[in-house]
């Protein structure tokens, strides 16, 4: 069981007031807040352990290197990768996905196909569009049903032997719908296609086991998992990482440089050109440790119950339309909605006036909003420290806003 009070105490920002009200932070899908241990680990790194890694034999450099590599091993265990060499540190999901798309470009041929879904975040669409255009490949979109779930039937029809890549989100950042990867991945492999999983949203909410999933690549960011911004992870099966070309060249990613040529390092160093975001990697390690100590199982129990409560409360508001699966168990605690006659941005502004932080807009998923026929939605995305009272406050505020707009 989670001790919610203690959990909340661990997040200093939750003590803030916004416009005279205690902060209710419901924008966790954009970025999550950071617990003390993460903040402390980073400031401690700068205060007493800062040095560049792999560069010096002095004590500090040695210690920094050890700490950095220990996080790699923590990530490896966290997602159950086979080897530490399969964990590449990047600046975030976006860089991870770009590393795969542009690293794989040279292996792709005209006439081959890339499958995406209509629910992808722009960062899992745009790199593939560029690569597809360059390599004269075809891009196909797996449709999303009106309740936000993937149309599996359509997926099987779209998938054929020409497919080389299926790039797919583990969970939508708009509807929270969880993708049935256990059905997607084996089908893709049977056709000889690789599968790239965008786990930006899922990583802090559902356990990830890359070996059980058997995905070929998986990407996530530190900052959505209670860690710092500026750091992310690319997991790749070892032989596949070996076959990718890096797109960042410079120091640290080489074995030997002569006037004429360079021998590249092996993965993961091959992809980590330049000085890494050291304090951020250390912060990521602290975030994963915090997640493990809090227990993903406890977090899931709390968040599912909160999701159910939110769905019930929001469904009771007349004129409110929810986007996403009906059942709380089929989704992350991400709840997007539209309110009849009230534009999304006005909802967000008026909620902010009461200290409630939500996001409004297309959430970097314009294709999905087009499919829903909505230019913008309002999104309340919940996390481990949110409470039922906060959800009740949201529901009450929405009723107030609605009355205001309808002139009562």
């Amino acid at each position: 069981m989670l001790k919610l009070k203690n959990i909340r105490k661990g997040f200093p920002i939750l003590a803030r007031t916004i416009n005279g009200h205690p902060l209710v932070y419901f924008d966790n899908a954009s970025t999550a807040q950071k617990p003390y241990p993460v903040i402390a680990a980073m400031s401690d790194f700068y205060a007493s352990r800062n040095a560049n890694i792999h560069r010096g034999i002095h004590t500090l450099s040695y210690e920094a290197t050890e700490a950095y590599e220990a996080v790699r091993e923590r990530v490896q265990r966290f997602i159950n990768a086979k080897s530490r060499d399969e964990i590449v540190f990047t600046s975030g999901t976006t860089e991870s996905l770009n590393t795969v798309a542009f690293g794989m470009k040279y292996l792709l041929k005209a006439g081959q196909e890339i499958l995406l879904t209509e629910a992808e975040h722009h960062s899992n669409i745009v790199p593939w569009q560029i690569v597809a255009a360059e390599r004269k490949m075809k891009l196909k979109y797996i449709p999303i049903k009106s309740d936000g779930r993937l149309d599996l039937h359509a997926y099987h029809k779209l998938l054929n032997k020409r497919a080389r890549v299926v790039a797919i989100t583990h969970a939508s950042n708009v509807t929270g719908a969880i993708t049935p990867l256990q059905k997607i991945i084996p089908a893709a492999h049977k056709m000889g296609s690789l599968v790239v999983v965008d786990a930006a949203q899922s990583v802090a909410h559902i356990p990830i086991d890359v070996r059980r999933l058997d995905c070929d690549f998986l990407a996530f960011s530190g900052h959505k998992a209670y860690g710092p911004t500026g750091v992310g992870v690319l997991y790749g099966k070892r032989d596949l990482l070996e076959s990718l070309r890096p797109f960042k060249y410079g120091g640290h990613m080489i074995k030997r440089v002569t006037k004429d040529q360079t021998t590249l390092a092996n993965p993961p160093e091959k992809f980590e050109g330049g000085t890494a975001p050291l304090a951020e990697v250390i912060g990521l390690g602290a975030a994963l440790e915090w997640l493990e100590q809090t227990g993903l199982k406890n977090i899931i129990t709390h968040e599912s119950s909160l999701s159910r409560h939110t769905l019930v409360r929001l469904r009771a508001i007349p004129g409110l339309r929810l986007h996403g699966p009906d059942r709380a168990s089929a989704r992350l605690p991400i709840i997007s909605f539209t309110l009849d006659g009230v534009p999304a941005h006005d909802i967000a502004s008026l909620l902010d006036a009461q200290g409630i932080a939500v996001r409004s807009g297309h959430h970097c998923a314009q294709i999905l909003h087009e499919a829903f026929g909505q230019p913008a939605t309002t999104r309340a995305s919940l996390a481990v420290y949110n409470t039922r009272q906060e959800v009740d406050q949201l529901a009450k505020a929405l009723l107030y806003i609605q009355n205001k707009f309808h002139g009562d």
Partner: protein, 139 residues
Amino acid sequence: MEIDTLYRQELLEHYRNPQNFGKLKKATYCAYRVNPLCGDEMDLEVLLDRNGKIEDIAFSGQGCAISIASASHFTEYLRGKSLARVKRVDREIPLRLLGASVGAPRRKCALLVYDALQDLVKLHDKKTGTGKNRRNPRS
């Protein structure tokens, strides 16, 4: 609460029943603006009379209450003025017309109509060859 003052019934009335909302049958210039941040879209059209005065003006599109109410007020304000005069209208005017302080995060919404107007002025300058040596208002 400041924002509650902004979203008073007078503003919401302009949102629900905006002035000058729709398309003109005949227009001298049209401009289209989007606010990429929030997806608000606006078409702004004017019909000029022989003396270069705004005889008719209309806006259309989709937007939040602030961008619609602001366009409703501002198009009323512009009607009957010459484009030459409109050129010198300060960026604060549409904000002032809303009658309450617009917080920094929403200024872009309130100014969408103003930015569209700058595009119209540019079209006019291009067509008439004026304004080349004159500094354009900030856009």
